[in-house]
Symmetry: C2
Subunit: 247 residues, 2 copies
């Protein structure tokens, strides 16, 4: 059985926050095999991966795109700074390939308010490294070494709406490979590579309310995907163009 339980009461995350200590203080009773799922916004805030819009000087490209798409040129500049390439710009949305290689709207940049200004929250610069650090710190504090999964909500090709997906992970097998194994009838399964990290991200999202400021969810029962090593990280879920039949 799988359970996904929101960890309430972390409060507002400040720059420099010890997320592991906050998670433990909020009463997360960790066990081996658990997956600690955390929305990237909390990680970004703790790491200072934020930019005050009043500090941003948009360049010519940002001004041009901002006019076309009716967006704030400073925000557009932040999005471009977070991107390796721009896939599409339409309907006020920039579909970007982020510096990490993820394909998502607005390079994963979210806007938030601070008194007298607006702040752009960007993705952590290396979410797999963030996951590994959080994992180590949780182990230090609790003696238990859970898997850690950092998520964001991504839109998808072909289908309506967003699902949470993995942008960073440690101690987790991101994709379980069932190719070549046999099914219940002894028939070898074809092309079965399950993106477990993304399924865990989705399951965790169900347990939190979007308006509740609740970034952390504890998923239990998926120990088969938890491993002793940090593993290849969520970067291994990025599909290269030459192997992508679906784009």
């Amino acid at each position: 059985m799988i359970t996904a339980r929101a960890i309430e009461g972390l409060g507002e995350i400040e720059r420099g926050a010890d997320l592991a200590a906050l998670i433990v203080a909020a009463g997360a009773d960790l066990q081996e095999g658990d997956v600690v799922v955390i929305a990237h916004k909390a990680v970004s805030k703790a790491e200072g991966a934020v930019r005050l819009l009043s500090d941003v000087r948009p360049g010519a490209r940002a001004h041009e795109l901002a006019t076309e798409q009716a967006r704030d040129p400073r925000l557009v500049q932040v999005i471009l700074d977070q991107s390796r390439s721009l896939i599409r710009a339409t309907h006020g949305v920039l579909i970007c390939e982020t510096t990490h290689g993820f394909i998502c709207a607005n390079a994963g940049v979210d806007l938030s308010n601070v008194p007298g200004d607006e702040v752009a929250i960007v993705l952590p610069s290396d979410p797999d490294a963030s996951a590994r650090a959080l994992r180590r710190r949780l182990a230090e504090l609790t003696g238990v070494t859970p898997a850690v999964l950092i998520t964001d909500s991504f839109g998808r090709a072909w289908r309506v709406g967003q699902c949470d997906v993995a942008i960073g992970c440690a101690g987790l097998v991101p994709a379980e490979d069932w190719r070549g194994r046999a099914d219940a009838h002894g028939r070898v399964l074809r092309a079965t590579l399950i993106a477990v990290a993304d399924e865990l991200a989705a399951a965790a999202d169900l347990a939190r309310r979007k308006d509740a400021g609740c970034p952390v969810v504890l998923v239990r029962g998926a120990a088969h995907a938890v491993c002793a090593q940090d593993g290849p990280g969520a970067v291994s879920l990025i599909r290269s163009a030459e192997h992508d039949l679906f784009r």
Copy 2:
């Protein structure tokens, strides 16, 4: 809290099987607000949505594609019969738009063995209707009206691996619309439309082992997405080309 529990012991599903009766007999203790998640293969078998390969006469197009892709021309014919259009054919995989409008590998057709032959299991012809019928029958048998979700494993653009997604549902809000609502800081959320049905499909998949022949998972704790009406079904999750920024 979300829980996802596999319902074991349904046994092999025969054509004409009363799936609701099998689910109840297997000990699923349904409550209002539950989501009964079922892998499409079980529904297809019960509905007879299968084709013996020995009965299939491949046409010229199927022969041509089969030669190109090193596949069985009879299987290719079944895949073409299930498709509205062929998006791509490469590496032995046909990426299809199914008759329903879903984009997936091989039009969702799976091969299975029967004594002396091979059988192609195809998607139910109207998975939303299948979900509605199963929901009604579960209500008749138990007095409880759960949501019903029929799933398949789909590959995705941009990302490695497959995730389970919704291909049919009843009694479920397939996508929760948070656009225009405020977050914890009173800031209006932008473009937040959560594909809950797909997140539920993913969560359920975590609870089953691919080799265990275990098609049914009971998800509890997502009552916010369960509704009294049958709702718009999973067909509402198909993104039209003009609104798809990600393909």
